[in-house]
Symmetry: C2
Amino acid sequence: MNASHHRKFEEVTLRTEPIFQGKIISLQVDTVQLPNGATATREIVKHPGAVAVLALTDDGRMLVVEQYRKPLEKSQIEIPAGKLDAGEDPLDAAKRELEEETGYRCESLRHISSFYTSPGFADEILHLYASEQLSKGEANPDEDEFLELEAITLEQAQAYMREGRISDAKTVMAVYAWQLYKLTGSF
Amino acid sequence: MNASHHRKFEEVTLRTEPIFQGKIISLQVDTVQLPNGATATREIVKHPGAVAVLALTDDGRMLVVEQYRKPLEKSQIEIPAGKLDAGEDPLDAAKRELEEETGYRCESLRHISSFYTSPGFADEILHLYASEQLSKGEANPDEDEFLELEAITLEQAQAYMREGRISDAKTVMAVYAWQLYKLTGSF
């Protein structure tokens, strides 16, 4: 890749105003110089990054967990996922989160894709992996995390999507990737 | 859908601390009561919601725009997209953003999916549409928006994904949906 691609229409930071430093995210407002010399402000959420796992059981089901999502004020069914700890390798984080949230352990993971969830206002990147070799480990959710585990078929996943019970980017993406895997044999 | 699904593991708001009200997002910290009676805090970004369009030309290419993404400090190639105006219908917003960013107009759009980009800390929902009937309109980007239009094949899109030039949730999702459409004939 040509490095200059990265800089096209670059917005140069004139100043950064820190607004908030939380447990999970921080917020700042940058004043930037646009390519035409004008200035604008950008509201930017910083996030440590996250991992998620499309974990398929021996009988061809996907592991999902139901949990309450306060920003949405409703519960959602999602693939196992979580934030990166400071300095943690995404692959290690994926294995850790899978076991903590589901009680299943996996030895090998394949990388499906890494994507920015909302590049207009946040730097969060999510690393999505797949695993088909699961063994029994031990669930150990965070103390403020309440989860219900389920193993669902592709048809059930698609029904949950129609019902709005699955409707987050990483899980919809995982269902598409799973469907493509079934059709083409590769992720 | 059983409405009680929505409330599983509900976190009841004890108080809300407003932190920031910006042009695009706002931030608040909620103190919540967990299902076991303990309390926790939730950092919540509010966003007006967004739309994006998988727009396919007569010769089977996808319209994309390259733009600088300040939160990532690099430029990215993405499908046309934008925020909902207050009270705006997502379908109207999708048509408006497509024309503003690309200069192409579309009469009919099909809904592919709607998904929450980052349900752990934000309420942003993105409505993804597809269109295959494009006609020439007039580009009119926002005054602080600098864009470069390209029409790319599926193979080019996949190459851009490998190179990291396409790496945002909505565009990766659109590429998967396009691939599934080619394989199965439906979205």
